[in-house]
Symmetry: C2
Subunit: 406 residues, 2 copies
């Protein structure tokens, strides 16, 4: 009896534990997952500073300055960025200041260099407009003691910059879940070998390897094994320790006993052995000693969708992320989908925007063995259980196959 | 005089050459860019095969089979996947066949195992429904001689699988453009050092490093240099050979001469020195010997947006990609944007879907030094030149900060 997808996902996510924590150099943190909250030790900016090149002044001194009637100020100091002012600005004086330099004591405004002119020892200021607002105040972006970043955050470019601002030179991140991939099937040959009668190349391991990497996992390709319980079990038993073991092939009805037999031999507790989705119904899931074991279909399309729907959420949660579902949006079907649907169906699609609507079009051939659609799809249309054929113009739910966090 | 953004982009893209080509192992190809068209040497599937476990039969033999009146066939052979059939199926006979195994000569249909029952030496077949359609035909997905994948394609999971199917064990990919990053400014200290008066940490190199990686570049962090033309020029001159050199800081009016002076010292031809966008107006661009030199603002927000709009397209084209612009969609402003806009403005935003509309909301503080917005944004609102303040409900153009190829 095939399990409902949502129940299968719930069973797995309940059993999923987050990986260990490691500290790595900031420059290696991109796309990793933060494993600690980051609290600011100091304000940022750490001092009042100038956002532009010009003169620090008393704002009132220049309030009435104009091109015809410039304010005349005496320069008392010059502060490049990185240096600290020594003298206080007082009425009638100004300090030359560079972008990012600390404001001298007493200064209540900054005048843009373009609005000034040197006149001997003095500076002419032609406008005081906006002077008081041209100060970046200490702590205006971040206050000391503030929790700025949270565990579970995927480290994007902005987060990288923020970690640097906060001095997090060795942030704690979650270890990448280790995922071992094995292609089973006596018809499978390595990708570099020439085809022989009855043989096909191992494509699933490469496709799934990329899916694992995209979900933040560390991929281990263990190659392939023939349709032989002992040999498959041995390959898994001798593999480097992994958090998730995935086989492809040997999972459908006739050969159910193959991967089922492997699980029994390894002492893996079976959680379920089929899920009500198309493609991807044959999928065994089991656990042993906190490690997950998945037996996916040998059909590339089925293996890919099973991974997406069943393995990926586990991998995302295990990797410490605070969200493990892809974004879903509502779209309008741009072309009919002619088949009726029993088990919940996932259809590779291209979606785009037209006249403010999001349209989604099913892509070419969608047979279980069909890979072409997966090379160009940017989305999956989700067709609910027991749906009739769908006409163009109907509203459908679409999963975006990318990192946009709608 | 600040250049229009579109003109600056055009000048740069005209001068951009694609990097060299290298051959790497398929398992290392994820997210790389294909540098060759891939033509199928053989059909795929390479032979007629069974999509399921069951029996290969003469379809006419089972056309009228039913539960009450099963067809009775004699099994003549058993073909596991990976083996080739020896005997032809003839009327009254059947061959046991596994998923993926080659169809025996003569067979015109496949019966699912669940619809059969062993009865001594014979097989009872209870339905022939769909038998003739249960064959994967040789070449139904790919025909020999067909160009299946094209140079310029980013290698996603589906493409990885397809490359494997086609036997591309060492695909040609474009070399990653090498990008050297230098933070300039006497106020800049390394991220691991404690703050001192007037100092801030180097955050731009880490933020831009992630932006470079996301655009497919290979990052080299060269550290920081004080506000000194000779020292900055020396750091660049002694850097490992790179395709793009990027400095941050020293690019705005008062200190224009700093990076301008570095360019002159290095013999770099300046293409432009400011672009009419906000944030990010100060940006020097130059070329020398086919290498690009960019001087971005030291303000993180300005540096990030200048990179996005000016450096990123160059990097994407240089990396061999067939598209180098991010997807843009139309959205409805979910909250007012209170400032009027002179130069074209980019505003970090969060966008999401509600009632079939895409909404976009400007994020918190958007000052030039403000990084928080960049940590959570999934999009940038583009506000055209000379716009008044915008009210909620107005339509805006939005750039999606992710890989969705709308």
């Amino acid at each position: 009896m095939a399990l409902k997808l949502e129940i299968a996902q719930e069973i797995l996510l309940k059993a999923t534990r987050v990986t260990s924590v490691e500290q790595i150099k900031l420059e290696e943190c991109w796309h990793r997952v933060l494993a600690e909250n980051i609290v600011a030790a100091t304000d940022f900016p750490p001092f009042d500073r100038s956002p532009l090149d010009g003169y620090a002044v008393i704002a009132a001194d220049v309030a009435k300055a104009s091109a015809d009637n410039p304010a005349i100020l005496r320069q008392i100091e010059n502060i490049p960025a990185g240096f600290t002012p020594q003298a206080a600005v007082t009425t009638g004086t100004a300090t030359r200041i560079m972008t990012g330099a600390p404001l001298p004591p007493g200064a209540t405004g900054v005048i843009r260099l373009e609005n000034t002119e040197v006149d001997g020892d003095m500076e002419k200021v032609f406008t005081g407009k906006g002077a008081a607002d041209s100060i970046c105040r200490q702590g205006e972006e971040i206050q000391a003691g503030e929790t700025v970043l949270f565990a579970g955050t995927v480290i994007n470019a902005g987060v990288m910059g923020m970690l640097a601002v906060l001095g997090a030179a060795f942030p704690k991140v979650y270890a990448r879940p280790r995922v071992a991939l094995i292609a089973t099937g006596s018809e499978i040959i390595p990708v570099h070998q020439p085809l022989a009668p009855g043989k096909i190349r191992n494509s699933n391991s490469y496709m799934l390897g990329a899916q694992v990497a995209e979900a933040g996992g560390e991929v281990k390709l263990l190659g392939s094994a023939p349709d032989d319980v002992d040999k498959i079990a041995q390959l898994i038993a001798e593999a480097p320790v992994s958090d998730i073991y995935i086989t492809t092939g040997g999972a459908s009805v006739g050969d159910y006993d193959l991967i089922g037999g492997v699980f029994r031999k390894l002492g893996v507790d079976v959680l379920f052995d089929r899920v009500s989705i198309k493609p991807g119904m044959p999928v065994l899931a089991g656990v042993k000693d906190g490690k997950f074991y998945f037996g996916l279909s040998g059909n590339p399309a089925a293996a890919s969708i099973s991974f997406e729907q069943i393995v990926r959420p586990v991998l995302m949660k295990m990797g410490g992320r605070s969200r493990w579902w892809r974004p879903r949006i509502e779209a309008v079907l741009a072309a009919p989908f002619g088949k009726s649907t029993g088990a919940k169906r996932f259809v590779w699609a291209h979606c785009w925007q037209k006249d403010a609507h999001i349209l989604a079009e099913p892509l070419g051939k969608q047979g279980n063995g069909m890979l072409k659609s997966a090379t160009t799809a940017n989305s999956l249309i989700v067709i609910p259980e027991n749906s009739p054929p769908l006409a163009a113009g109907e509203t459908v739910e679409v999963i975006l196959l990318a990192d946009v966090t709608f």
